[in-house]
Every structure is written in C-alpha cells, then in structure tokens.
C-alpha cells in the first residue's frame, strides 16, 4: 500500500517552514544559504510526491531541474559570499546593504 500523500506534504511543509524561518532570522549568509537549500528541497519533496500520486514523470523531471538550478546557484552564490567575506571579513548579510535605493 502507498504512504498517503499527506505525509509527504506535511514533511515538505515542515521543511519549508524551517527553511523560511532560517532565512528570516539568521544573519550569517552561509546559514541563510543553507536555509534556502532547505526550502528548495522541501519543494522537491512535494514535487516527487505529486509525481507519484499522478503516476507521471513530470514532477520528477522538474525536481531534477530544480536540483541542477540549485547547484548552479550554490556555485554563484558561494563565490559571491566568499568575495564579500574577503573584502569585509564578515558574512553577515545586514552589513552588505550597498544596493539600497
């Protein structure tokens, strides 16, 4: 028998909520980054679950896409954080507010 879809969704929602809180309350850029990853993977869980529910592969394919994009994002994002750290000796996002209008 199948595990009810609700379980997956609850897991996904919980992961997403944790990620969201992490993004909002933590100040270290690396931790925020990890929290974003958590959010992304929460969505991936939901995608795969729906995919199984509908018996189609679209959701899984999309999950792969999302992983690839996340990986690319990590590459770029980490590079930026590293550069910021080198210049400012800090990875606190609130210190980097140069892009204010």
């Amino acid at each position: 028998m199948r595990t009810p879809i609700a379980y997956f969704l609850i897991l996904s929602a919980a992961l997403f909520a944790i990620g969201t809180v992490g993004v909002l309350v933590r100040r270290n850029a690396l931790v925020i980054f990890m929290s974003v990853e958590l959010q992304l993977n929460a969505v991936n869980v939901a995608l795969v679950a729906f995919s199984r529910m509908h018996n189609e592969l679209d959701g899984q394919v999309l999950a792969f896409f999302s992983m690839v994009v996340a990986a690319a994002e990590v590459v770029v994002g980490l590079a930026i954080i590293l550069n910021v750290y080198r210049r400012r000796h800090s990875a606190i996002v609130d210190d980097v507010s140069l892009l204010r209008g």
């Binding site: 909002l24 609130d94 204010r100």
Partner: protein
C-alpha cells in the same frame, strides 16, 4: 534657326561656368571672355531677328521645346523657349546693353583681385535674364526670375566685407522674395484654372472664353503684379533698390537699371491677356506706376549720392512703364523700356567714370565743374540726362511723351496731369546730378581724371542709342517701328483721339521738359541759388525728400521691429513652454522615482520577509477565490 535659340542663354551660361571654374587661371582674360559670351548672344539674337522679320506677322511665334522639366500627377512643365517679337526684343536689349556693360566693366574692375568671380556672376545674370525673357511657361520664367534675383544678391554683396553691402544684398533678396512668393501663388493659381502653365495655353484664346471667373483673373493678375512690383522696385516694395547701389556700378547699370528691374514690366506686358480679363488689375497697375513715378522723382531730388539719385530715377522711369502698361499701351511701355535701357545704362556708367576719377566719391556736394577735367564723360552724362528729361528729339522724348500723351488721347485727363507733373519732376531731378557734378563750382579735392578709352568705347554706342533709339523705333507716323514689330504679340492699342490734339501735346511735353532743365540750371549751376543751404532752411522738407518719405522707417516700425520682437518671444515660448513641458514631464518622472527607492533598504532579510508576506497574501487571495 529658331531651334538654336537655346544657344543664346547657353553661351552666357558657358561663359559663367568657365569663369567660375577655371577663371582663376585666366586672370585678365576673364572679362573679355564674359563680354564675348554675351556679345555672341547678341549676334545670335540678331540672326533670329532677321529670320523673324523674313516671315509674315502671324507666323512670328515659335516654341522650342527642349525637354520635360518635371511632372507629377496632372502637373507637367517643360523647359521650353518662346521666340516671338516680344521675347526677341528683350533678348536684344539684354544681350546688347549687357555686352556693352560687360565691356565697360573690363576696365572698371581692373583693380579687382578676382575679376573672374565678378564676370562669372555677371554672365550668370545674363543667362538667367535670358531664360526669364525666353521662357515659354510661367515656371521657367520664375526660374529665370529667381535666378536674376540671386545674381542681384551676389553682385550687390560683391564687396561683402562692407556691412552695408551685405545688408543691402540681403534686403534686396528678401524684399523681392516677398513679391516673388505672391507671384508663385499666382502661378499655382494659373495652373489650377488652366491646367497648364504654357503661354500658348494660358495667354491664347482660352483666357477670353470664361475659363475662370473674373475674380480668379483678378487674383492671378494681382499676384503676378506683386512679383512684378517687387522685382521692378515699385511702391510698396521699392525699398531695396536705392540700397542696391552698394554693388559695383556696372552691376547697377546692368541689373538695377537696364534689365532686371524691367522684368516686372515684361511680366505685365507678357501677361496682359490675363490682366485684361479683370476690371481691377490694369487700373491697379496704372495707379502703382503713376504714384511710383511721382514718388521716386521727388525722392531723387532729395539725394546727394549720385547713384541713389539715379536709382530713384530708375524707379520713376519704371513707374512710367507700369503707367503705360496700365493704360493698355504695352508697346509704349516696351518702347520706354528699350530707350531707358540705353540712356540709363549710359548715365550709370558715366557715374561710374566719375567715381573712378574721384576715388569712389559719390557725394554730389563734393563734385562740381567736372566738365573741365572729364570732358568726354560730361558729354555722355549730358546726352543721357537730356534724353531722360525728354528733350526733343532724343530717345526719352519719344518714349516718355508717347506715354504721357497717350493718357490724354485715351481720355484719362487726371492721369495726364499727374503724368505731366512726373515728367516735369523727371527733367528736374536728372538735371540736378548733371549740373551739380559737371557744372557750377569745383568742390572736390585733388584732381580728377577721365576714364580710359576701353571704358568710353561702350559709352559711344549707348550714347548713340540714347539719341536715336526714339527716332528709329518710336517715331509716330503710322505707329512706330517697334510698335508694328510687337503688334503680333501685344496687339494694337485702341486708337482713340480724345483730349487735346497730338501736336499740342507734343509742344506741351517739350516745353515742360525744357522748362524743367532750365529751372535745374538756374538752381544748381547758375550760382544764383544757394542750394546747399536748402537742408538748413527747410529741414523738414529736405528730410522727407532725402529719406524718401521715411518709408524705410515706416517699415521698420511696422514690420521689422515688431517682427523681431515677435520672433524673439516665439523663441522664448519654444524654450520655456514647448520644451519646458517636455523637461517638466521628465523631472516629474524623476521625482516620482525618488519615492519608490524607500522600499529598497538593501537588507536582504527584509526583502525576504516582504516576499514571504506577499506570497502569503497571494495564497490567501487564491484560497478565497476557489
């Protein structure tokens, strides 16, 4: 032979181009080359004249079509020349007098550093003038018309580093352009009504067959007249002509006396069929001519600059021509045009001799008794002046008396009296420079010298013309030679014999002329009248005369100053209002965009929070809808 008529302007154009492009290398040959180019035109003109004379009267009109100039929609116009008695008369005047003036200019301009440029412009002028008189349609005529205006501009401003010359050139161009633009409208109107601009179509029988309303004919005629008035320096567009004397004297003789300024007369005479269809047009021509004749004669008396005095004289004489045309005596106008070309060119060129001999002195108050040192020039000026004054049997006598007397014989008594006054004033004003410059007491410093032979030679021909042209062309027995020659084109004027008998009129005319010259001698040469004190004793009258009744001042007050002020304010409106609105809009956008950045704090976590809230709101909305 007629097919080769295009050669006449072409030769002049070739001369102009040669002088323009390789003139610098030719050096002193520039002048002779230019003279030959025009002279060759005269010879060709004579050949065509003989051809014309050998055919019967009705067959003396030939149209030579060169090519289609341009066409669009229904409109089409050709480059075509018309050979008929009227055009060939004009051709002979232009090339004949033109060649003589060119020959004179060779000597006159010998100290000029770039004679090639001068002769290039002069040849170019002759080219355009020939196009003007030979054109077979109004648009080609207009090309010549504007072309001579251009050359007039270039030559008045020939010494352009003198601000006065530059301003005079511009004034001449713009003033005549006002008339020209009206004329252009007239031409457009002709096309609208006739569907063609060719003389054969427009001036043929169709004009009389009710092709357009009388109002339309009046409009066309008056618009054409506006162009003629501008070009011929008649009231109210005459202000440019006296200033135009800033140009070299041969230019004044050729363009501003003998040929270009008479183009207006030619236009009216050529278009007489149109003018006759309107009840108003010809009387307007008559009145403008008559007023201009009297006005300019009075103004001439007030001038101390010899060239300006002659310029007003030209205006007055052309007034006579308009007067004649206005009465329907087109041949009378043409006769005066031809005779005037001779004696006025002679007068101007002799004035040039005087200026040459007196180191560019033009003020009559610093001349006097020049006949001692410039005896030959004194002879020429006397002939010219007496001819203009109308002393029998010189050319002016026949030409002018013919017109004045025609006013009486056609029953226009009031006009006759005014014309007689104008004739009297003419004789008076022209005797003034004659006596002031060549007679009376010596008032100049240093010595004068008479001109060299090369400058006298052309004057001989002009002087002979000034003496005998009237006798040859205008002697009234069965109508003059010129009258009969022009009859196929212009028709014969109605031979009414109202008013005084012809013999009496001739006597009156002669007495008036001789009396005026005698009066002139008494005032300016006898030494019995202190004419120099006149401006002191009568400052008002002298001011009115010397300033030509302050028309220039009036125009400045009416047009130039308010026009400049208006233009300046329009410019301010353009900067502040039209452009100001644009910049204002741009600044408003800029101001608005200074409010928006408040949201952009630069704190990533704040963005994330807003993002979250936004997502929540969206979810809420979606949830409520489904």
């Amino acid at each position: 032979m007629f097919d080769l008529v295009w050669l006449i302007p072409a030769v002049a154009l070739a001369g102009a181009m040669a002088n323009l492009f390789v003139g610098r290398k030719m050096g002193r040959l520039a002048g002779p080359l230019g003279t030959i180019a025009v002279g060759a035109g005269f010879v060709l003109g004579l050949l065509i004249l003989f051809d014309l004379l050998s055919s019967p009267g009705e067959e003396r009109t030939h149209v030579v079509r060169l090519y289609e100039w341009f066409a669009a929609g229904r409109f089409s116009v050709s480059a075509a020349f018309r050979v008929d008695p009227l055009s060939i008369t004009m051709v002979l005047v232009v090339t004949g007098v033109g060649a003589l003036i060119h020959a004179y200019a060779v000597g006159y301009m010998e100290h000029d550093p770039r004679p090639d440029r001068f002769f290039a412009y002069l040849n170019l002028f002759v080219f355009f003038m020939l196009v003007l008189v030979l054109a077979d349609n109004y648009l080609l005529l207009y090309l010549g018309w504007e072309g001579v205006g251009l050359c007039s501009y270039l030559l008045i401003g020939y010494w352009g580093d003198r601000p006065a010359a530059a301003s005079a050139a511009k004034k001449a161009f713009i003033t005549t352009r006002i008339g020209d633009s009206a004329m252009l409208l007239g031409i457009v109107l002709i096309f609208v009504h006739f569907g063609s601009l060719e003389f054969g179509e427009v001036l043929g029988e169709r004009a009389g067959q009710g092709i357009a309303s009388e109002g339309a004919f009046t409009a066309i005629s008056l618009l054409l007249l506006a162009g003629a008035v501008g070009k011929s320096a008649q009231l109210p567009l005459h202000v440019w002509l006296p200033d135009a004397m800033e140009g070299p004297t041969p230019v004044s003789a050729l363009i501003h006396a003998a040929t270009m300024v008479t183009a207006g007369v030619y236009l009216v005479v050529r278009s007489h069929v149109l003018f006759e269809q309107s009840d108003i047009a010809l009387p307007v021509v008559l009145v403008i001519g008559l007023i201009s004749a009297v006005y300019a004669a009075l103004a001439s008396i007030g001038q101390f600059d010899i060239k300006r005095a002659l310029a007003y004289s030209t205006m007055s004489q052309i007034g006579f021509m308009f007067f004649a045309a206005g009465m329907g005596s087109y041949t009378g106008a043409m006769l005066l045009l031809v005779c005037h070309a001779f004696y006025k060119a002679l007068l101007f060129l002799t004035a040039g001799n005087v200026m040459h001999g007196l180191h560019d002195e033009t003020d009559l108050r610093r001349m006097g008794d020049l006949r001692r040192e410039m005896p030959i020039s004194a002879v020429w000026f006397s002939i010219g002046a007496l001819s203009l004054a109308g002393i029998p049997p010189l050319a002016g006598f026949f030409a002018k008396d013919h017109i004045v007397n025609f006013a009486s014989t056609s029953g226009r008594t009031a006009a006759y009296v005014v014309a007689l006054v104008a004739a009297f004033l003419s004789a008076l004003y022209i005797s003034r420079p004659l006596f002031l410059a060549f007679f009376g007491s010596n008032r100049y410093e240093g010595r004068a010298h008479d001109a060299q032979w090369s400058m006298h030679a052309p004057l001989v021909v002009l002087a002979v013309g000034g003496v005998v042209a009237g006798l040859l062309l205008g002697l009234q027995a069965e109508g003059g030679v010129l009258e009969r020659f022009l009859e196929p084109t212009l028709g014969a004027p109605e031979a009414a014999h109202l008013g005084l008998p012809e013999g009496v009129l001739v006597v009156i005319g002669s007495v008036v002329a001789i009396g005026a010259v005698a009066l002139g001698w008494w005032i300016w040469a006898s030494g019995r009248v202190d004419w120099e004190a006149f401006p002191r004793r009568q400052p008002e009258l002298a001011g009115w005369l010397s300033n030509a009744f302050y028309v220039n001042t009036l125009y400045a007050w009416l047009v130039r100053i308010p026009g400049t002020d208006f233009s300046r304010s329009v410019r301010v409106v353009d900067d502040r209002v039209v452009d100001g609105t644009v910049n204002e809009v741009a600044e408003d956008v800029g101001r608005a965009s200074r409010i928006a950045p408040i949201l952009q704090s630069g704190f990533v976590r704040q963005y994330a929070l807003v993002f979250l809230l936004g997502a929540g709101v969206l979810l809420l909305i979606l949830g409520l809808r489904f």
